[in-house]
């Protein structure tokens, strides 16, 4: 019987190597796989390229991974917010690289990677500095830029319910980048609030089919970034 469960977050992230490209799910605090991120900090691998919409908040989760010097480059759409201090500081010091991608283009590039589409055209960024150096082409009388797919070696995703085959559901807007990042990574690692038996998720309600998932670890009471920050916590 297929069973993708692994028993701990540390086991789940143990093989992520130096220099890997890692997608991290979540939009701001919602959907951020804090336990997997902290396990990656404990694991200690460096020189990562991380793909996330943002750059983390406070000094926990993704911000802590960055603050711990493990990230060489961020690919994201919005690298600063009122609660993000770590990335802005390192960026100003020239200690971390940034590839800025508009949010919809980021999502579509990730989806394209999962769907076997090496490139596509979008009107987003036409006529702006973010289109510089990109191929521009007219379709139906309107300019579009060509964008390439965006793949990763690993994805770290948080979901609500999973089964041993890797079928997933999410909770509300914590869904965000989860389903497309699961598709785009060679190895997708998921922390789930609840692991249920095969067949307990209605096949009509599966959001991520198990084919896109490699490892599942149950984290029954996941911490939430906002709660940690409000409590003044930092990691490690």
């Amino acid at each position: 019987m297929i069973d993708k469960q692994v028993l701990s977050v540390s086991e789940a992230v143990a093989d992520i190597p130096e220099g890997a490209t890692v997608m991290v799910g979540g939009f701001g605090a919602s959907g951020s796989p804090i336990e997997l991120l902290h396990a990656l900090i404990d694991q200690g691998v460096k020189n990562l390229t991380v793909i996330n919409n943002n750059t983390g908040n406070g000094e926990v989760g993704l911000a802590a991974l960055i603050g711990n010097g493990q990230v060489r480059k961020m690919i994201c759409s919005f690298p600063r917010s009122s609660q993000s201090k770590v990335f802005p500081q390192l960026y100003k010091e020239g200690k971390i690289e940034l590839e800025l991608v508009p949010q919809g283009t980021l999502a579509e590039r990730i989806r394209a990677a999962g769907a076997g589409i090496p490139a596509f055209y979008t009107p987003t960024t036409v006529g702006t500095v973010l289109a510089e150096g990109k191929e521009v082409r007219e379709f139906d009388g309107r300019d579009h830029v060509m964008e390439p797919w965006l793949k990763a070696d690993y994805a770290l995703i948080k979901c609500e319910v999973a089964d041993p085959l890797g079928n997933l559901t999410y909770n509300k807007t914590a869904r965000n980048f989860g389903p497309i990042m699961c598709m785009a990574a060679t190895t997708t690692i998921v922390q789930t609030k609840k692991l249920v038996a095969r067949g307990e998720i209605d096949p009509e309600h599966v959001i991520t089919p198990g084919i896109f998932v490699n490892r599942i670890v149950e984290v029954p009471d996941p911490v939430h970034e906002d709660t940690l920050i409000a409590a003044g916590r930092r990691f490690p």
């Binding site: 949010q103 919809g104 807007t173």
Partner: protein, 214 residues
């Protein structure tokens, strides 16, 4: 007593131009206030680009769901008839032209409809674009709500944007504290003046030529 519209009045005026049944995406700041001024007999459906159609008002603090946020990362609610979806589907709605109206704040808007609202382009600033460039290219009608001038009195309605563009030629209409202004083939044209404001004042505070209403 200063003449002109308050932030709330600007939002209420913009709401008047949104048709019944419209799918609407509201930017951060004054645009968010539009939801409080839906005209009698109309219903708008709110889209938030992080994956929710049918966004409702903010919850009471003790009723927050930590997994239910909007694109501005504030806690929100979902109305009956809402739907959740992932980011690629959400931006398909935007890029694919399915959202009827987007109301945005801005730093500058030009007489040809160019908008600059994502970056000052200052050296050393950390660029952050989010979904702004997708919204201005994809949504059917782009409305802007903004003070007519900056705090320093510099015009925000200009001949040509000096800040880096978010998108070229995309803005339809602008709601300021002084007037409602359309972007037309002939440049800016006043549609309506705020109470106590005359065309001369609007003209003087606009950084481009502007036409009076017909």
């Amino acid at each position: 007593m200063s003449a002109g519209w308050t932030r709330e009045q600007m939002a209420a005026r913009a709401a008047q131009d949104i048709p019944d049944g419209a799918c609407v995406n509201l930017g951060i700041g004054i645009p968010e206030l539009v939801a409080g001024f839906v005209p009698e007999g109309r219903e708008f459906i709110y889209h938030t680009e992080n994956g929710l159609l049918g966004m409702g008002p903010p919850p009471a603090e003790n009723e927050r769901d930590l997994d239910l946020m909007n694109a501005g990362k504030k806690y929100v609610t979902a109305v009956p008839g809402a739907a959740y979806f992932h980011h690629a589907d959400s931006f398909s709605m935007i890029r694919g032209g399915h959202i009827d109206v987007c109301v945005l704040g801005t730093m500058q808007v030009a007489a040809n409809g160019d908008i600059a609202n994502w970056s000052t382009g200052a050296p050393g600033a950390i660029p952050a674009v989010g979904g702004a460039m997708d919204l201005v290219q994809g949504v059917k009608r782009i409305y802007v709500i903004t003070q007519h001038t900056t705090r320093n009195g510099d015009p925000k309605l200009v001949e040509r944007c000096s800040y880096p563009l978010t998108g070229p030629g995309v803005v339809s209409r602008i709601y300021t504290d002084l007037a409602v202004v359309d972007v037309t083939d002939d440049g800016f044209r006043v549609v309506e003046l705020a109470p106590g404001v005359d065309f001369e004042e609007v003209k003087n505070k606009t950084g481009a030529s502007i036409l009076p209403s017909d």
